[in-house]
């Protein structure tokens, strides 16, 4: 599970085998550690996701096919792992595909659905909202 080409399916499969909460956290933290960090110059207010108690940045980039690829970072390890998970879920999709993703369903399979409420401090809700807003704007552009 330490290859550079971890897929969402790998994550879902692995999570099923991890019974302990600390093993699951370690796995998420590891996902974050393998995420290439953003340059300090990229961590600007424009890319900051509001509503996260730790700092989170998401930078969208669009390729020639119109697919969106996000890069992201956080100053907290667990949250950075959640950022990595979001990128696995949403990256290299068209805006329409992004809007069709059932984020709640996926997070339920990971046992993380309870983190997907606006009141949660981890900011998962705000990240999903930001990604969907960007996709929505791209879809209607």
């Amino acid at each position: 599970m330490t290859s550079e080409t971890t897929t969402l399916d790998d994550v879902l499969d692995t999570f099923e085998f991890l019974d302990d909460w600390d093993e699951r956290y370690k796995f998420i933290i590891d996902l974050g550690r393998r995420l290439p960090p953003l340059a300090a110059s990229e961590m600007t207010d424009d890319f900051k996701v509001r509503g996260c108690q730790s700092q989170v940045w998401l930078i969208p980039e669009r390729d020639a096919d119109g697919r969106i690829r996000f890069r992201g970072d956080s100053d907290a390890h667990i949250v950075k792992g959640l950022v990595a998970l979001m990128l696995l879920i949403y990256n290299d999709k068209t805006p329409e595909e992004i809007l069709a993703v059932d984020a709640r369903g996926l997070l339920e399979r990971l046992g993380l659905a309870s983190h997907l409420s606006p009141q949660r401090a981890n900011g998962l809700f705000s990240m999903v909202e930001r990604i969907r807003t960007i996709a929505g704007a791209a879809a209607s552009a």
């Binding site: 909460w21 600390d22 108690q53 667990i78 949250v79 981890n122």
Partner: protein
């Protein structure tokens, strides 16, 4: 007055804990270790019962009705004010204004006393360790008036730089000092009596944010000679949504009212209105009746345990936690002033405070992680935030042991 004999006072923490129903709860399958009392304290049964008793047996609006329930509720509400005045040794109950909490109390002073007393060029002096609630109301006022907000710096151990304080008072332009009695973020206990004396010598008025002190220390506003003293019930084992701003009668009398509405008036015509006497001049609208009434059993709870016993218990916990956390190489304590309230704030290089708080939560340990609404003090130490474990009457050494074990888990996961 006899000298405190703290170490001779029997203190049965298990008996105290038995009064707090919530402490029997489990979190993620683990017994709750509640180490976030500085944010808000849990409630003893007497407080919970007082609200229930009101709503089930004699609830009505207060200060209005001629019928029995209204009179009973009014009497209970005003008895609470009397108990609060006694608790802080105010000269008169009317000097204790009910507000939503310390934040509203500070805003009230900034918007009323400040409105008529602060002019362009005046200085509002704060300290670098203030909670945002004791910064932002003054910034709003300063913006309106063209006044200047300045902050007294703190030393590396988190104690106030008293030399700098004296020098800043020397400008001759300081109109008010706003200072925490005990810092919520790093625990420093300020020498407020001395600070107030120096401020008065310089012609300034003083507001003390007593949120973190009122649950832990014997407060005597007359001995301190504080002009204003703010505190919140919910940090004192009392209900949420109610607090008190104490003000000297002479100052409160001269201040214009803040919010208009019912209760704060004597007569109203479209030609004009005459305002009610203290404290009602500042208490517009139907107040938090249940909160006011249930504040009294919280105060009686603290008085029954006794300040000396509380202080001895919490000083032991602080000393124990400081020693235990100090033995962990990867933990760096933030705020090590000689005089401290019952909390420890710390950082670990290997993980963000939120990471640490999340891993502790999984183990049933509730701590605060973040900037604690005191960003300037975090900037002062060059950190994004801290983990804060704070203690109260019901905290045990065993819970501190669990915190240490929890931090070992953090090291296992992030190290």
């Amino acid at each position: 007055m006899t000298a405190p004999v703290a170490n001779l006072i029997p203190f049965d923490v298990e008996a105290v804990r038995a009064e707090f129903p919530i402490l029997k709860e489990t979190v993620h399958g683990k017994p709750l270790a509640f180490l976030d009392t500085a944010a808000s304290a849990q409630k003893p049964r007497a407080v919970i019962e007082a609200e229930k008793d009101l709503y089930e047996h004699y609830y009505a609006n207060i200060h209005r009705g001629v019928y029995k329930f209204s009179q009973d509720a009014t009497e209970a509400y005003e008895n609470s004010r009397v108990a609060i005045a006694r608790f802080i040794n105010a000269a008169k109950p009317l000097e204790c204004l009910f507000v939503r909490g310390a934040t509203e109390g500070i805003n009230l002073v900034a918007q009323t006393w400040g409105r008529v007393n602060i002019k362009a060029g005046d200085e509002i002096l704060l300290t670098e360790m203030e909670h945002h609630s004791n910064i932002v109301p003054w910034q709003i006022l300063a913006e309106e008036k063209g006044a200047v907000v300045k902050a007294v710096p703190i030393h590396d151990d988190g104690s106030l730089d008293m030399d700098a304080y004296r020098a800043m008072l020397g400008s001759g332009r300081v109109k008010i000092l706003g200072a925490a009695h005990i810092s919520n973020s790093i625990g420093t206990q300020n020498p407020v009596k001395e600070m107030i004396r120096l401020a008065h010598d310089a012609g300034a008025v003083v507001l003390i944010d007593g949120c973190q002190a009122a649950p832990h220390l014997k407060i005597d506003v007359q001995d301190l000679d504080a002009d204003f003293y703010a505190f919140s019930a919910h940090k004192m084992y009392g209900p949420t949504g109610i607090g008190v701003i104490y003000g000297k009668e002479r100052l409160l009398d001269a201040m214009p009212p803040w919010q208009g509405g019912g209760d704060m008036i004597k007569t109203v015509t479209f030609a004009g209105t005459t305002f009610n006497d203290l404290p009602y001049k500042f208490e517009a609208g139907t107040p938090h009746i249940a909160g006011g009434i249930a504040f009294k059993p919280a105060i009686e709870f603290i008085e029954r345990i006794g300040h000396d016993a509380i202080h001895a218990h919490e000083a032991d916990l602080l000393e124990y936690a400081t020693r235990q956390l100090g033995s962990l190489n990867s933990v760096r304590l933030i705020g090590t002033a000689p005089e401290k309230g019952a909390l420890v704030s710390f950082v670990m290089d290997m993980a963000h405070p939120h990471d640490i708080g999340t891993i502790l939560d999984r183990q049933g340990i509730a701590v605060r992680a973040g900037h604690h609404c005191a960003q300037p003090v975090m900037d002062r130490f060059g950190i994004p935030g801290t983990v804060r474990a704070s203690f109260g009457v019901y905290t045990t050494r065993d819970e501190i042991d669990r915190l240490v074990a929890g931090l070992n888990k953090v090291m296992d996961i992030f190290g």
